[in-house]
């Protein structure tokens, strides 16, 4: 086929990009070369719209061993232990084919982690669906959950936490973000930078098939009516092979045979080989006839673009080929020497003894286009003036039950019952808490992780929303007694070529950066997913934050369930009663306008540190952060989990009870304090100058507040626990 501008456009390149390629090469590329450019220059691989802004992120910290730019980020958790982690999107494929899309999302992120020498110890996911009323939602949810479970359960890595939301803006573009944490000895971390000349380049894992060709380009475009036709671009996962690949790679990593290793993810062999060579400032020569293929007569074009799963590319020390091959033979995996490193600084491809492509590496990597796309600032919406007389017709128990059974608040047990969350025998906090917690095997340490996003806040005011999610992640970790260390982010946005969407991205990133800097909670890895748009309708901006923290003695871990009758319940942090953008405003007043709650970073940090002090001194016995739905929602969850009631004290002064109970002000926690500890707790709260309210006392089997509320916990639990199950069964 002759390569023309039209062919280039078919490959997702822009007109200008094609002329730039011809100019840089000083000739027209052949079809294989064009394919390589299209794979490397698409949004998904090149970060061409986002790179300029990502550079500003706060990525350094005392415990950071590896920041963004590698397969995953790495943090130091002491005693030579390090945690490798990253979150990644698999949005586009999951909408087209929910089971395989979600499954291979999980497989891909796990490979990113074990590529670095780490054994995966926990998975998390953040999944977002269209309105529950939308005809596709139920099937997409079912498929995605089965896909995530199908892959993670088979590999034998526990899925310890997650987040699921519903919003009509995801009707045509669901989001599937998967996160993995792995454990590695900090002196045995593997990187993707090739080094040394004439070193063998090894292909291991599954055979290459025709699946997933153009996957990365598909993920760099918006959807239209013909989306079903893109099914062949979705990869097919085989978790069994990945399990073998994991064990084989870790076995080979036990010695010093590997120079560099990179998984074949988006854009498969193309991006893995180019990235390794580019990082090592080398050239690479590949003989594509040596690539193990699953199907007959595969062309160089197909081999280079295939996104078949469960494959790795390794640059090996010379002479170690036999030793490595033995290991992969033992695990019944393909092993082939397919090339070598060179000093040409080019990628050179040979097929059937003929040279089929030759491109200078720097054209594909550093010289890839970078765009400074125009963007529009979002003004802070005016604060709403609620008519408080209108509230009076609303009965508190009805409001509470409605909120607890809201699709975004209700219990997600139907989902996580389908994920193996206990395999590996170290899960000490299961899904459903503020964060999942796994022990660092064989030690007293435990690692906590949480995934969070707040699309409604980010949509209303991206800058505040960006800050808020980082704080929410921080609070979730603190609520389980963990010291927050670092985050990974998955930035899901609409079309960057639209000023509004680009503006949302820029300002969310700014918010994330500001908060992560202030809280000393650096970003160590992440990914960007643009073009979450169907027929001109984009998603609400949904940056997802995956936070990781450390509990140095796991016996000090906190959970949210109320423990003992007679213990006191305090709200730590000040409640102003911010109802704009709250669930209360949406669900009960049908009011969707107004600004998100203000984020005060000083308070977040100060109150967070206070809470850590309290938990380290064993002065509090349960803890939960106050987020969506406000104080009453948070307290209800603590009651339901602990199967205990609470008697709430009368509110002081002129406080409006609706604002107090349902306001979504930030930087707040609810804690349970044994009476014997109260004096010390108050001393510490005063020392940090932290505001607190004496909310009530754990008592009986119902929630009681004056004459307004007297609700048995069982009734609340029914409202909270069964919405999703009923929805899925209906």
């Amino acid at each position: 086929m002759e390569v023309t501008e039209a062919v280039a456009i078919d490959h997702g390149l822009k007109k200008e990009e094609f002329s730039k390629i011809c100019e840089l090469l000083n000739r027209t590329p052949n079809l294989t070369e064009l394919a390589i450019f299209s794979a490397m220059w698409n949004e998904h691989c090149s970060y061409k719209s986002s790179r300029k802004h990502l550079k500003k992120m706060h990525t350094k910290g005392k415990q950071v061993i590896q920041g963004p730019g590698e397969n995953a980020g790495v943090i130091d958790i002491g005693d030579d232990d390090a945690i490798v982690f990253k979150i990644e999107s698999h949005n586009h494929p999951s909408f087209i084919e929910p089971y395989q899309g979600a499954a291979t999302g999980v497989g891909g992120i796990m490979r990113d982690v074990f590529t670095m020498g780490a054994r995966p110890i926990a998975n998390l996911n953040s999944i977002h669906f269209g309105s529950p009323q939308h005809k596709k939602t139920r099937n997409l949810l079912r498929g995605v959950v089965k896909g995530i479970g199908g892959y993670g359960n088979c590999i034998g890595v526990p899925t310890i936490a997650g987040q699921t939301t519903f919003d009509e803006s995801y009707n045509g573009n669901i989001l599937v973000n998967a996160m993995t944490l792995g454990l590695v000895n900090k002196n045995k971390i593997f990187y993707s930078k090739a080094a040394g000349l004439d070193k063998p380049v090894i292909y291991v894992g599954s055979k290459t098939g025709r699946d997933g060709i153009h996957g990365a380009s598909m993920a760099s475009a918006t959807f239209d009516d013909k989306i079903e036709e893109k099914k062949p671009t979705v990869q097919v996962g085989d978790p069994f092979t990945e399990k073998l690949l994991l064990e084989a790679c870790l076995e080979l990593m036990a010695d010093n045979s590997i120079i560099a290793i990179q998984d074949m993810g988006a854009a498969g062999l193309t991006s893995s080989s180019v990235e390794m060579a580019s990082k090592g400032n080398l050239g690479i020569e590949l003989n594509l006839s040596e690539v193990p293929c699953r199907e007959e007569k595969m062309t160089p074009y197909e081999i280079m673009l295939s996104e078949s799963q469960e494959r790795m590319l390794i640059v090996l020390e010379k002479g170690k080929e036999e030793h490595a091959k033995k290991i992969f033979d033992k695990w019944n995996l393909d092993f082939a020497v397919i090339g070598k490193t060179t000093n040409s600084k080019k990628i050179q491809l040979i097929f059937d003894n003929k040279k089929v492509a030759e491109i200078p590496i720097d054209l594909l990597a550093e010289n890839a286009p970078i765009y400074d796309r125009p963007w529009k600032k979002t003004k802070l919406p005016q604060k709403l003036k609620f008519d408080k007389d209108e509230f009076k017709s609303l009965k508190l128990p009805d409001c509470l039950k409605k909120i607890l059974s809201n699709s975004n608040i209700s219990d997600k047990k139907w989902i996580w019952d389908q994920y193996d969350h206990t395999v590996m025998g170290d899960t000490i906090q299961k899904p459903g808490g503020d964060a999942g917690v796994v022990r660092v095997h064989g030690t007293n340490k435990a690692v906590a992780a949480s995934v969070d996003s707040s699309a409604l806040y980010c949509f209303s005011h991206p800058l505040t929303g960006g800050k808020q999610i980082v704080c929410e992640s921080y609070r979730n970790l603190i609520s389980v007694g963990a010291k927050p260390i670092a985050i990974t982010n998955c930035l899901n946005f609409g079309n960057p070529e639209k000023e509004k969407n680009m503006g949302e991205f820029v300002e969310c990133v700014e918010g994330i950066t500001e908060a992560s800097k202030y809280l000393d909670f650096p970003v160590v890895s992440g990914n960007v997913s643009f073009y979450n748009e169907t027929k001109d309708k984009g998603i609400k901006p949904t940056p997802t934050i995956g936070g990781v923290g450390l509990i140095s003695d796991y016996q000090q871990m906190l959970t949210m369930d109320f423990k003992t009758e007679g213990n006191l319940v305090y709200v730590i942090g000040k409640t102003d009663g911010h109802l704009d953008q709250s669930i209360f405003a949406r669900e009960l007043l049908n009011e969707k306008k107004g600004p998100p709650p203000t984020v005060n970073l000083f308070n977040e940090k100060n109150i967070g540190e206070t809470l850590l002090d309290l938990s380290r001194k064993n002065l509090i016995v349960s803890c939960h952060d106050v987020s969506l739905g406000g104080i009453l929602t948070a307290v209800s969850k603590m009651c339901i989990k602990g199967k205990k009631g609470i008697k709430i004290n009368s509110l002081k002064g002129l406080t409006n009870k609706y604002e107090y109970f349902f306001g979504e002000d930030q930087a707040r926690y609810i804690v349970e304090i044994p009476r014997a500890s109260l004096k010390k707790v108050i001393e510490i709260l005063n020392k940090y100058s932290v505001h607190f309210d004496d909310l009530g006392i754990i008592d009986g089997n119902s929630i009681k507040y004056n004459d307004d509320i007297n609700l048995p916990i069982e009734e609340l639990a029914d409202a909270h626990k069964y919405w999703l199950k009923k929805y899925m069964d209906s």
Binding site: T241, K243, D417, Q418, V423, I428
Partner: protein, 227 residues
Amino acid sequence: MRSSVIIFPGSNCDRDMDVALRKFGFKNQMVWHNDKSIPKSDLIVLPGGFSYGDYLRCGSIASKSKIIKSVIDFANSGGLVLGICNGFQILTETGLLKGILQQNKFLNFICRNVFVKVKDKQNKYFKDLKKDLLELHIAHNEGNYFCSDDELKSLEDNNQIAVTYCGEDGTEDETTNPNGAIKNIAGIFNNNKNVLGMMPHPERMIDKYLSGEDGSLFFKNIIDNFK
């Protein structure tokens, strides 16, 4: 007491089982599926996971693997063989245990705590166990035990039903049956009661920070009965 845990490609509860066995005093060793023989053992464990990807049928390919002949010989000579989850599926595929494990009734993978009733204590696993009800943990997609009427009758007649799903109060009915297993069966013995297969994972319930501690009782009891 010496134990061996067999690792098949795709096993993923092998380490957890090793940790549990060692914790309760077993001298455990790991055995690779391609080995021809098993080191001298008093107990052989087939762990949970997805042996050979569970392709074809769960446990079916593993039941034809190289090591299995030694396992069958060991079982036939009266040695203790314990299969948990995928291990149970493998044991039914080898014919050492009767029946089959089908996909769960509601077609979903289930991971959660369950209660099981110990139905028989005249065996080396449960003899003198202090509790009649255990809280254990299940994590499976194919745990729906099924067998023919004749097989069921013979299981019942010979007291070969080991554990059944029940409620916290011991109720055995549809509401306390997580996967649709016939007669709420969670685990069975062979005729001589030296081979035990069960879906619940005792190895995930061995300290109070995990889902519970009843798994400890199970392992301690095997050791105590051996002494």
